[in-house]
Amino acid sequence: MARVLIIEDDRVTADEICAELQRYGLDTDWVGDGATGLERARGGFYDAITLDRMLPGMDGLTVVTRLREYGVQTPVLMISALSDADERVRGLRAGGDDYLTKPFNPDEMAARIEVLLRRHANVSRPMALRVGDLQLDLIDRTARRGEVLLDLLPTEFRLLEFLMRHSGRVLTRTMIFEAVWGYHFDPGTNVIEVHIGRLRRKLDPPEREPLIHTVRGVGYVLEAR
C-alpha cells in the first residue's frame, strides 16, 4: 500500500487530507513542522508527500529544496494559500511536482496525489497506451478502438493521451486543462465538458462499452469497466 507523508501545520486541514487519502486506500503520516517533515521524508520510505508552503520554522520551499539536494525524488504536492502565478512557478522550480491552492477540493487533491504516485511508478515512456480495446500509438499519433481508426484532432489526441496515461484515476477539469493546454486557471465547467463530450462521441460509439466516465462534481475517469 502506498504511503503518503502529510507536512501541514494546520490540524484541521491535515485531518481533511488524511481522511480523503485514506478513503482512496492510501496510508498517511502527519507531521506539523518543516524540520521534522524533512527528517521523516529523508528517512522514511514514502511514495508521495503533501507539503504546505507556509510552515513554522522551515518553510515548504526550503523543505523541498533540501529534499532534492539530498537526492530524495519522492513526488511532492505543494499546497499553498498563495495562488499567485509567481508562487506556483517558484514552488515547481524548487522541486515540487504539482501545486494546489488552498482551500482545495479534497477530490482534486486526492486525484493529484494519485497521478503523482502513478507518474512516479512508471517513469518509462511507453510507445503505445492501451485501455481495453482502445489503443493509442504515440509514435504514429493514431488511435484505434478495436479495429476502427479514430479521426482525432490534435487537441483531442492530447486529451485522450492524458486520460489514458492516468486511466483508472479520476482527473479533475483543472488537471485536464493544465495538462492539455498548459494554462493554470479554472476555465469553467462547460469547456472541459464539451471537449470530453466530443471525444466521447468519437471514442464511445453506442454499440460499444463506454470508456470515459463522469464522476459527478469531481471530474472524469477513463477505464474499461
Binding site: 495562488s83 502565478a85 512557478v89 466530443r198 462534481g217
Partner: protein, 461 residues
C-alpha cells in the same frame, strides 16, 4: 513650458489687473504732482508779475517806457512780455504789438486765453499776465510766458512714461517667471496623481514643506487618499475574509454531501444530494472567482511578464472554444492580422482574459448567431483584440456596470448561468497589465469588446 498653459495660472491672470491698477494709480499720482507743481509755479510767476507791476506803478508816467524797456533788458531768457498802449489801443512802447484779446483791466494776474504774440516771435506763446490802466488812461500790459511750466509738465509726463515702462515690463517678466514655480509643482502633482487615477491608492501627492497653498491642498488630498485607502482595504478585507471563511465550511459541506451521495440508498435521495453538490460547487466557484479578482488586484509584481505572441494566445482560445460555439450552433470566425507586435504580459492571465470574454460571448449569443474574434495591430496600443458577437449587446447605461463585480445585464437571459464575475476578472487582468478594455458601439447590435493591449493613454476613453 507653453505660454498657453502659463496664461492659465492665476498669478499670470492677475498680472494684467495689477498692471491696469498700477497704471491708474501712477497716472493719478503724477497728475496730482503735476497739478501741484503747476499751481506752485503759477504762484511764483504771478508773484513776479505782481512785484513788477508794483514797481512800475510807482514810476512816473514819463519814465514808464524807459523803466519797461529796462525790464526787458533784465529779462535774459526772453520770457517777459510787456506793452504800453494809449486808450485807443495804439502801442506806445513794448515787445508786443496789440493788447491781447480778452484781457480785463483789473490788475489781477490771469492766464491769457489765446497766448501772446511777441514781436519777432514765430507764434504766440502761452502766458500769464495782467492789464492795468495807468495815469492818463494808458493801458499797461505785463505778462510772462509759461514755457517753464510747460517744460516741467513735459518732464513730469516723460518721467511718468519711463517710470511706468521700467516698472511694468520687469513686473510682467518677473510675474511670468514667478508663475513658473507653481506651474512646475502642479506638473509634479499631476505626474504623482497619474498612478492614483489609475487606482494605485498607495501613492501620495508631493508636499514640499513650504506650507504654502499648494502644500495645503496636496495635504488635504493626501489625507483624503489615506482615508479612501483605509476604507477600501477594510471593505476588501471584509470581502476577502468572508470569502475565505465561507470556503472552508463549504468545502467540508461538499465533502459530507459527497459522502452522503456515495452512501445514498435510493436514486431519488441520490439525485437530491447531487443537486446540492452542484449548488455548493457553484457557490465555491463564485468565491474562487471573488478571491481571484482580489488576488489580481493585489498583484503588483510583474515578474511573470514576458513577450507574448497574441496570435498564439488567440489560437489557443480558438482551439478551446470552437467546440463550445459549434455545440451551440454559433459561427465562430477568426481574423489574425500578420505582423501584430508582441505585447508584454503574463500569457496565462491574457489567455484567461480573452477566454472570459469569448466565454461570455458564447453564453449570450443565441443559437444560429455569430462571434468574430480578431487580432489587429493598433497605432496607439500596439495590438488590439476584438470580440464581436451577434447577441443582445450591452446597453450604454450598463457599460460601466458590466465590469463591476456580480453585475449581470438586465436584459440578460435568465437561463444563462454565470456568477457575473467573468468580466470583473477580465477588468482586473487588464488593469494589472495597464491595458484597456473598451465596449465599442456596434452598429449591428451585438456586443463588441475591444482589448487594447498596450499602455493605456490617460484621458482616452
Amino acid at each position: 513650458m507653453k505660454l498657453g498653459e502659463l496664461s492659465r495660472i492665476s498669478t499670470v491672470r492677475l498680472l494684467p489687473v495689477y498692471g491696469v491698477l498700477f497704471v491708474l494709480w501712477s497716472v493719478l499720482l503724477i497728475g496730482w504732482v503735476q497739478y501741484d507743481t503747476k499751481r506752485y509755479l503759477s504762484g511764483v510767476v504771478d508773484e513776479i508779475l505782481r512785484q513788477r507791476v508794483h514797481y512800475l506803478s510807482h514810476i512816473d508816467r514819463e519814465r514808464l517806457p524807459e523803466a519797461m524797456a529796462q525790464t526787458d533788458a533784465l529779462d535774459l531768457r526772453g520770457v517777459m512780455l510787456y506793452g504800453l498802449f494809449d486808450p485807443q489801443g495804439n502801442k506806445i512802447t513794448g515787445n508786443i504789438e496789440h493788447i491781447p484779446e480778452g484781457v480785463s483791466l483789473d490788475g489781477v494776474v490771469h492766464a491769457v486765453p489765446g497766448g501772446i504774440q511777441r514781436i519777432g516771435a514765430p507764434e504766440p506763446v502761452n502766458a500769464r499776465g495782467l492789464a492795468k490802466q495807468v495815469e492818463g488812461g494808458d493801458v499797461l500790459i505785463l505778462a510772462r510766458a509759461t514755457s517753464v511750466l510747460d517744460q516741467v509738465n513735459t518732464i513730469i509726463f516723460r518721467s511718468l512714461l519711463w517710470g511706468l515702462t521700467l516698472t511694468i515690463i520687469p513686473g510682467l517678466i518677473g510675474g511670468l517667471w514667478l508663475a513658473r514655480g507653481p506651474l512646475r509643482r502642479i506638473r509634479a502633482i499631476e505626474t504623482a496623481a497619474q498612478p492614483i487615477m489609475r487606482g494605485d491608492l498607495h501613492q501620495r501627492l508631493p508636499v514640499t514643506g513650504r506650507r504654502d497653498e499648494l502644500d495645503m491642498l496636496a495635504g488635504i488630498v493626501n489625507s483624503m487618499l489615506e482615508e479612501i485607502e483605509r476604507l477600501m482595504s477594510e471593505v476588501k478585507g471584509v470581502c476577502d475574509s468572508i470569502a475565505h471563511d465561507l470556503r472552508t465550511p463549504l468545502t467540508r459541506l461538499r465533502s459530507q454531501l459527497h459522502r452522503m451521495h456515495r452512501e445514498a440508498s435510493d436514486s431519488a435521495h441520490a439525485s437530491v444530494v447531487e443537486q446540492a453538490i452542484l449548488d455548493v460547487d457553484s457557490l465555491l466557484d463564485r468565491f474562487r472567482a471573488l478571491l481571484r479578482i482580489s488576488e489580481l488586484e493585489d498583484m503588483h509584481r510583474r515578474a511573470g511578464f514576458t513577450e507574448v505572441h497574441l496570435a498564439g494566445t488567440l489560437d489557443h482560445v480558438r482551439e478551446i472554444y470552437t467546440p463550445l460555439a459549434e455545440d451551440k450552433h454559433i459561427t465562430f470566425s477568426f481574423e489574425i492580422a500578420p505582423n501584430t507586435p508582441t505585447v508584454r504580459g503574463d500569457p496565462n492571465l491574457l489567455l484567461e482574459a480573452v477566454s472570459n470574454i469569448v466565454d461570455n460571448a458564447i453564453k449570450f449569443t443565441p443559437a444560429g448567431g455569430s462571434i468574430h474574434l480578431r487580432l489587429l495591430p493598433d497605432a496607439d496600443a500596439g495590438a488590439r483584440i476584438d470580440v464581436i458577437d451577434s447577441g443582445p449587446g450591452i446597453q450604454n447605461s450598463e457599460r460601466e456596470a458590466v465590469l463591476q463585480r456580480f453585475y449581470r445585464g438586465t436584459c440578460s437571459n435568465k437561463d444563462v448561468s454565470g456568477s457575473g464575475l467573468g468580466l470583473s476578472i477580465v477588468a482586473a487582468i487588464v488593469k494589472l497589465h495597464g491595458f484597456k478594455l473598451q465596449i465599442v458601439d456596434n452598429p449591428a447590435g451585438g456586443a463588441w469588446l475591444a482589448l487594447m493591449c498596450g499602455p493605456a493613454r490617460t484621458g482616452a476613453t
